[in-house]
C-alpha cells in the first residue's frame, strides 16, 4: 500500500501548476501545454504521510539570510492563487500561501497547513488536523473556517482545475472545530491529497475575502495576505515582486532567506546572461542550447528535473485530426510515425534533455509504463511504402498538411516538416499563440496536425486519459484533440479509475498503451525534462515545488 502511495504522490508533482513549460529552448513557461483534467482514481485505503520523507533538514549554522533573485518571464498581474491556475501567479504566490499539504521531490504528501490527516477506508472521508499557531501575515489567526471558506467561496467557483476536479465529487466540507476540517465525498475519491498543495488549493484568508463582492476583481488580490514563508512587500508591474521573510512562519526555523525577489525578464537569453552575471540566482528553465557550455561553469549549479511548477512527465505529442480524410487510413499515420526522426528531436529540439517516447505513458511513470508496444522506428522506405499502399502517389508532393504549434515549439515543426518532406508530404507550419491555438484546435477543430506537450502529471487518470476519452472531445483546452473514439479505451480508462490494486492497474494501462500505439490517434514524440539553474552554493532548493524557496539558503564560502 505504501508503495502505491509513494507513486501516486510522486505523480502528483505535476499538479503544482498549470502549464508544463518544458519547452525546449525558450524560457517562457506559461505558454505551452496541458496538464490534467480528470477525476483521480478512487482509493479505498487510509494513508499516512510517509515517515521516510521528513521536513527540510535543519539548516547549518553558517547559513546567512540574504536575497534570492528569481527570474520569471511574465508579470503575475495579481496575487490571488485561488482564482487562476496561471503559472505566472502561482510561481510567486507559492511562497506566500500554503496548501493543506505539500509535496516532496518524490511527490509524497507532507504536512503543510494540515499537521496530519486521516482517510476513511472507502476514501470518502478525509479528516485534516490543522497546525497549531498559524497566523496570517497580518497577525490574524488561521482556522479551519478559512479552509472551508476558501474551498466553498473561491476554489470551487474560480479555480478551474479544482472546480472541475472536485465539484461533482465533493459532498461537503465541514469545520467541526478550529483545528479540524472534514472533506466528505459521495463516491470514493483517492487522489484528494494531490489536489491540496499550495498551487492546487492555496488557502486564503476569510477575514480578507469574506466581505469582498467580487473575488475576481478585488483590490485585495494585489496585496496578498497569506500564511506562507514570505510576505508580500512590493510589486512593480513587469519589473519585480519583492517578498520578505515571514518572521512568524509556523514552521520552526524557516524560512532562511531575508528576501525573495522575482524579476520579470521576458527574453530567455537575457535571463541566462543575468544568471551568469550574478544578477539573479534562480532560473526556472536554462535554455537547452546553452547547457553544454554551462556544464563547465562553476558559478552555476544545474538541477535536471522531470517535473516542476511547469508540469511533470511531459510528452510532446503530434496530434492527428482524425476528422480529416487523409488520416482515415491508418497507414498514413503509421507512415508519418516512421518518417519522423525522433532521435533528431531529442538531440536538436530538446538538446538531449529527455528521450524518444514509446507511447502515451511516460517511462517516468514507472508503475503504469510498458515498452511492450509496437515500434515505429525511423524508416523512410517503409513510410514511403505505406503511403504508396494508401494510394498517395509518390509523384511530387503526396499531400499537404498543416501543423499547428505554439511559437516556441517551432523547432519540432521545422524538424517534422523536413522529415516528412522526405516522404513527399508537405507541411505548412502554423505557429499560433496560445489564445488563438486553443479554440482553433479544440473548438473549431480546424487543423490537420498539431504538436502539444501533454504532461502525464501524477496519474494516468489525470494526465493521460483526457486525451483519449470519447467524452472529452470539444471546447475544452487540452482535451481529446485527435477526436479519437474507441469504446474499449473509454471502458479501460474507467476500469483504471475504479481499480485500486497497482498491479491490476498496471495491466490495464499496459493494454491501453498497446491499443493506442497500434491505432495511432497521436504520435508520441519525446519525453522531456528540463533544467533549473541556480547560483552555485545554494542549498535547500525545491525546484519541483511552489515552496521552492521555503528552505533555500546561501551557504558561505
Amino acid at each position: 500500500m505504501r508503495h502505491r502511495w509513494i507513486v501516486a504522490a510522486y505523480l502528483a508533482v505535476g499538479l503544482v501548476a498549470t502549464a508544463c513549460g518544458d519547452d525546449a529552448e525558450s524560457g517562457s513557461t506559461a505558454d505551452e501545454e496541458a496538464t490534467v483534467a480528470e477525476t483521480t482514481a478512487p482509493a479505498d485505503d487510509t494513508t499516512e504521510p510517509d515517515d521516510e520523507t521528513e521536513q527540510e533538514e535543519e539548516p547549518a549554522d553558517d547559513v546567512s539570510g540574504g536575497t534570492m533573485v528569481v527570474a520569471i518571464s511574465e508579470d503575475p498581474g495579481h496575487f490571488n492563487p485561488g482564482i487562476t491556475t496561471g503559472f505566472n501567479v502561482h510561481v510567486v504566490t507559492g511562497s506566500m500561501f500554503n496548501g493543506l499539504v505539500e509535496l516532496d521531490d518524490n511527490a509524497n504528501p507532507l504536512p503543510d497547513l494540515a499537521e496530519s490527516w486521516e482517510v476513511s477506508d472507502d476514501a470518502t472521508t478525509y479528516t485534516f488536523t490543522l497546525a497549531d499557531g498559524v497566523t496570517w501575515h497580518d497577525g490574524e489567526p488561521f482556522t479551519s473556517a478559512d479552509v472551508k471558506f476558501t474551498f466553498e467561496e473561491v476554489l470551487l467557483n474560480f479555480h478551474s482545475r479544482t472546480k472541475s476536479g472536485l465539484e461533482g465529487a465533493l459532498a461537503s466540507i465541514d469545520a467541526p472545530d478550529d483545528q479540524t476540517v472534514v472533506f466528505t465525498f459521495s463516491e470514493p475519491y483517492a487522489a484528494l491529497l494531490q489536489r491540496l498543495n499550495s498551487t492546487e488549493a492555496p488557502i486564503l484568508a476569510q477575514h480578507i475575502y469574506g466581505g469582498v463582492d467580487d473575488v475576481q476583481e478585488a483590490a485585495e488580490n494585489l496585496t496578498p495576505v497569506g500564511t506562507g514563508p514570505f510576505m508580500f512587500e512590493s510589486h512593480e508591474i513587469d519589473s519585480e515582486v519583492r517578498l520578505v521573510r515571514n518572521p512568524n512562519y509556523f514552521k520552526d526555523g524557516l524560512p532562511l532567506l531575508d528576501e525573495v525577489v522575482y524579476r520579470v525578464i521576458p527574453d530567455a537569453n537575457t535571463q541566462l546572461l543575468a544568471l551568469e552575471q550574478g544578477e539573479i540566482d534562480y532560473l526556472w528553465r536554462v535554455p537547452g542550447a546553452e547547457l553544454e557550455r554551462l556544464g563547465g561553469d562553476d558559478a552555476i549549479d544545474l538541477y535536471p528535473v522531470n517535473s516542476g511548477p511547469g508540469g511533470g512527465f511531459c510528452v510532446p505529442t503530434l496530434t492527428f485530426n482524425l476528422d480529416r480524410e487523409v488520416f482515415d487510413d491508418i497507414r498514413v499515420r503509421q507512415a508519418i510515425a516512421h518518417a519522423i526522426d525522433r532521435q533528431q528531436l531529442v538531440d536538436q529540439a530538446i538538446f538531449g534533455q529527455g528521450r524518444a517516447a514509446t507511447g502515451p505513458i511516460s517511462s517516468e511513470m514507472a508503475f503504469a509504463y510498458t515498452d511492450d508496444v509496437t515500434e515505429y522506428p525511423r524508416d523512410i522506405e517503409r513510410a514511403n511504402a505505406l503511403l504508396d499502399d494508401a494510394g498517395f502517389s509518390a509523384e511530387g508532393t503526396r499531400f499537404t498538411i498543416d501543423l499547428l504549434h505554439f511559437p516556441n515549439f517551432s523547432k519540432y515543426g521545422e524538424i517534422i516538416r523536413e522529415n516528412l518532406s522526405e516522404v513527399g508530404i508537405d507541411v505548412e507550419l502554423a505557429p499560433l499563440d496560445r489564445a488563438a491555438f486553443l479554440p482553433r484546435v479544440f473548438e473549431q477543430r480546424d487543423f490537420d496536425t498539431n504538436v502539444i506537450s501533454y504532461c502525464n502529471n501524477s496519474d494516468p487518470s489525470i494526465g493521460v486519459s483526457r486525451m483519449y476519452l470519447s467524452t472529452n472531445i470539444g471546447n475544452i483546452p487540452f482535451s481529446n484533440g485527435a477526436g479519437y473514439v474507441n469504446p474499449t479505451i473509454d471502458e479501460l480508462f474507467a476500469d483504471g479509475n475504479r481499480t485500486a490494486d497497482t498491479g491490476a492497474r498496471a495491466d490495464i494501462y499496459a493494454e491501453i498503451q498497446q491499443i493506442l500505439v497500434d491505432e495511432l490517434p497521436y504520435w508520441w514524440l519525446v519525453e522531456t525534462r528540463f533544467t533549473v539553474g541556480a547560483t552555485a552554493g545554494m542549498e535547500g532548493l525545491a525546484p519541483h515545488s511552489g515552496h521552492f524557496a521555503e528552505g533555500a539558503h546561501f551557504v558561505d564560502g
Binding site: N269, P287, A289, Q348, P431
Partner: protein
Amino acid sequence: MVATEGGHGTAGQVVAEASPGTGLRERFRTPAAKAGLGLTGLFCIVAIAADLIAPSDPFAFVGQAFKSPSTDHWLGTDDLGRDVLSGVVHGARTSLIVGLVVAVSSLIIGTVIGAAAGFAGGWVDDVLMRLTELVQVMPRFFLALMVVALFGPGLPNLIAVLALTSWELIARVVRSAVLSVKEADFVVAARAVGAPAPRLLWTHILPNAIAPAVALAALQVGGAILIEAGLSFLGLGDPNRVSWGYMLNNAQPFVRRAWWLSVFPGAAVAMTLLGINLLSDALSDRAPARPPRRIRRRFRGHVDGPGPSPLAEGPDPGLDPGPNAGSPLLAVEELRVQFGTDVGPLIAVDGLTLTIGRGEVLGLVGESGCGKTVTALAIAGLLDETTAVVDGRVWFDGIDLAAQPESAMNRIRGSRIAMIFQEPGSSLDPVKTVGHQIGEVLRRRDDIARGQRRQTTIDLLDRVGIPDPRRVVEAYAHQLSGGMAQRVMIAIALAGGPDLLIADEPTTALDVTVQAQILELLQELSETEDMAILLITHDLDVVSEFADRVAVMYAGVIVEELTVDRLGHDPRHPYTTALLAARPGVARSDERLATIPGTVPTMLEQPAECRFAARCGPRVEWELSICCEAEPALVETGTDHSVRCWLHQDSLDASDT
C-alpha cells in the same frame, strides 16, 4: 543649359543648371550613391536568382549542425544542419517580395486615395483625409504586431497590414500634387474645353504626382524588412518561408555558440537597408554635384602657391599700391572663376580687371548670365570653395583679400565691405528680428557700447528712411514690404560703416517707384558716408543716372569701361551700343534685351574668338573675319575709356590675350 548665372543665382545653382548631366546619371556619381545602387542591385539579383545561387534548399538538413563557415558551407550551418548561405540568399527573396508587395500596394492605395481626395475635393476629400489621419495615428509597428500576434504569424498577414498602413504619406503627397496641378493653367484650360475628369486625372495630373510617391514607396521596402525582422525577433515570424528575421530569431539561443548564425543574416539586413537608404538619398538629394577633384587641386595650387601667406601681416610690398589717397579702394586683377561640372570646368569669370576709387560709384552692367554676381561674390570671398575655383587678385585698400584667412575676411566683410542683394525679403533670416541681424554687425564694433546698440540700430533704420524704426527693430522679414526690406538691408550694410558697398541688382525685384527711392538713398549715402558702391545691374538707365563710371561685362570679361558721360555720347563696343539701343526708354527690364538676338554663351573653355562675335551686328554687317579667329584685348582708347573690340584695337598685333 545656357545661362551661367541666374539673376540671383548662387554658385550652386549655376553649376546645377549648367551641368548637362543633371539627371539620374549625375545623381549616381558619388561613391555613396554608387554603393547604394550596388547594394540594392546585389540584393535584387540575389533575390531573383536565389534558386541558382543558393547551394541547397534553405530548409534541407544538408550537413552537420553548427559547422562554422568553411569551404563546404561558406557561411556555416545552423542548429539543424541547414546551410546558412542558402538561408541568407532565399531570405533576400522573401524580403524583396515583402518589400515590393508592400511598396506597390501602398503606392496604389495611396495614389488612388490621394488622387480621389485631391481631385474630388469637398466631402470626399474630408472623409478620405480623416481616414488618412486615422492611419497616421495608428502606429504601424504595433498594428503589425497586433495583427500578427492575434491572427497568426504569416507573411500574408504581415504584408496586408503593412500595405494597409503605409500609404498615408503617399496619399498626402499625391493629394497635394494633384491640388497644385489641378489649378495649373493647362489643366484649367483642359477642363474648360470639357475634357472628362478621369482622363484629365490620368493624362495631366497623375504623371506630375507620381514621382514623389514612387520615391516614398521605395522607402517602404526597407521599412517592411525591418518590421518583419522585428516581429520575427518577438517570435512572430512566418516559419514557412526563410526570411532574415526568421534566421535571426532562430539564431537567438545560439548567439554565443555560433556567431555566424546571427551575424550573416544581420549583416544582410543591415547592408540591404543601407543600400536602399543610400539609393533613396541619392534620388532625393538636391545638393549640387561637386567639382571633380582634379580641377580643384590644380586651381587651388595656383592660387595658394605664389600669393602671400595668409598670415602675412600686410600686403606684398612689391605689389602694394599703398594706402595713399591716390590709389583705388578696390583693384581687381585678372579675376578668374571656374565651377567644376561633369563636362569640365565652367568658366564664369575670365580674367576680369577693374578698379573703384574711394567714394566712387561704379556700375557693372551686363545681361543675365554674364558673370556679374559671381564677380561680386568673388570679391567678397563668398563663393563656395567646394564648388568654385577662384584665381586672380583682389586688392582692397592695400590688402590682398585672396590671401586673407577666413577670420580676417569675416572682419572685413560687414565692417569694410558690405553687400546688398536683389531679393531683400529672402536675404533676411525669416526667424530673426531685424534688430538681431543689425546687431550681428554692431556687436563687432568696439566703438558702440552694448547699451547703445539698440539706439544705434534705431538710428540706422531711421537713417535709411524707415518710418517707424522702433517697431521695425522687432519686426521679421515677412512683415516688411520689399522696399522696406531693402532699406533694412542697407541699414545692416551701413551698420559696419563700410568703405565699399556691393549692391547686386538692389532694385530689380522692387516696384518702380520704390526703385528710385532706394537708388536715391544709395546715392545720398555714398556721398555722405564717403562710401564707394559697386552697383551691379542690367539696367543702363539706372547706371547712367547714379554711377560715376560704367563697366560693361559680357561672358566673364569687361568689354568696355567708361565714364557715365561718355556712355551717353560715345559708347564704342557693339554690345554696349546694342544694350543702349535696346532700351525702350521706360523701365521694363525683361523686354529690352530681347532685341539682341541670342544669349550669353556658356564657356567650357576659353574662346579663341571674340565672345560677342556670334551676336555682333557690325561683324555680320562688315563680314569681319578676325572676330572669329582671335579674341581682342581690352585696350585704352581714351581717357577713362577702354574697349575690347577689334573695331577699336590700336594695333592689330595686340592679340596676346
